[in-house]
């Protein structure tokens, strides 16, 4: 049962982190990239460095290769840079997870239980969560060890990460495409193409950057 829970948490991490598997930043992250791509990534990281808090709604469209229909999930994300991340799913089921530097706490409407997993003693979770913060903080250079990167479009910026054959994610992941807002301050959508033919598109809507967040935004059990 404990293993089952870990698999579920791992699945969340897969989604949030979207396959980045390496923290190690190459000595020269942009080495080997073309000058336009290198300049673009530097510019995006400079924008991301100014990010202190994030509040956004999301629409997540999951297309399963075996089915014609799209599964749509809706919810909200709140993040404090270097602090807490709260991921609330509102549809089709209500589910919340809070990730801090010490603990993961989750709740869902079906079990109506709050579950807490301390990060001490879970080094794998710890590592994965560290990587989540890398993702939300916009440190895209750190993905270059495991991914080939290409600039798909410049205005608005679209960059695509494709796992290198040696990357652990290469067997399951085809590409991750990040589309930025026209002001490049934050992501507009993430498109994840899986090797098996499934795809996930996460659109961020009503995104607010660097505004004070409420304590209630980080509570999972207030929905119980």
């Amino acid at each position: 049962m404990r293993r089952l829970r870990k698999v579920f948490l791992f699945s969340l991490l897969c989604l949030v982190y979207a396959g980045q598997s390496a923290r190690a930043v190459p000595e020269s992250p942009s080495a080997g990239l073309g000058p336009r791509l290198s300049a673009t990534i530097s510019r995006l990281e400079a924008h991301a460095a100014r990010l202190k808090t994030l509040s956004t709604e999301f629409v997540q469209e999951k297309n399963l290769a075996a089915f014609r229909n799209t599964l749509t999930l809706r919810g909200r994300i709140f993040m404090e840079r270097g602090g807490r991340l709260a991921w609330h799913v509102d549809e089709p089921v209500r589910y919340s997870v809070l990730i801090t530097d010490k603990v993961i706490r989750q709740w869902d409407e079906e079990t109506r239980q709050v579950r807490e997993i301390p990060l001490s003693g879970n080094p794998m979770l710890r590592t994965a969560l560290d990587q989540i913060s890398v993702w939300f903080n916009g440190d895209y250079s750190s993905a270059l060890k495991d991914y080939e990167v290409e600039l798909v479009q410049e205005n608005p910026v679209v960059i695509r990460f494709m796992p290198k054959p040696s990357a652990l994610t290469a067997k399951v992941l085809k590409s991750i495409e990040l589309r930025f807002r026209s002001n490049e301050e934050y992501l507009e959508q993430i498109l994840i193409l899986e090797a098996g033919g499934d795809s996930t598109r996460i659109r961020f809507e009503n995104t607010v950057l660097n505004s004070p967040l409420k304590e209630a935004d980080f509570e999972v059990d207030r929905r119980a």
């Binding site: 089952l4 075996a66 089915f67 799913v89 089921v93 589910y95 239980q113 098996g196």
Partner: protein, 224 residues
Amino acid sequence: MRHGLLACVLIFHVAGCAAVPFGSPADASMKDVSPHELLARFEERLPSRFTLLNSLVFQFGLFNKVSALGYISVDREHRRFHVVCMSPVGVKLFEVSGDEKDIDRHFAIGDFGKNPYFFRSVAEDIRRVYFGLVPPEETPVYRGRRRMYFYSESGSGEETVYRFGSPDHVLLDKTRLRDHVGLWRVSYYEYRSTSEGYLPAGTVLENWEYGYRITIRLKDIRSE
């Protein structure tokens, strides 16, 4: 003999009623209902093919619960199914398809695929829930005041008891027994008349042999 079996079924039913999150079916007299007509009408109202989005709760023991999303396509006529199970954040945990006998393993995250029995038990549970909803013709019947019981022997010392009732004369549950000992039971709650046919909004599978329960809540009906 039959009354002893009926007593066993009732005991299992009462014992398992606690904490079911669905409404109990209303009572209705079975006095003037023909078993043959009841089965024919029920079969007629069942959809032959359908695709559903469900929420699932896996429960082991009293307090260990894990929730998930299930996307399932069922072809009752050809006895085929295809299911994708996802975490509440929409990450695929496993995917399997099959028919009455065989299964095709498509995907499993993490340790799920390492257990040789995992896919087989998933397929068995799906067959229990979605196939064999009507007992074979000429199945012996016992008529209670408000319920009708059909006893279908498998020939290997096992027996399936189908319990019909409610004003709509629907299948309330089916219980599998071996030597009068319950192995598993599927209970169906809150039937809805949908564009696809008659479908339960709630389903509970209890596996006494291996000590787990799966609660399935219908979230959406999809047209494929």
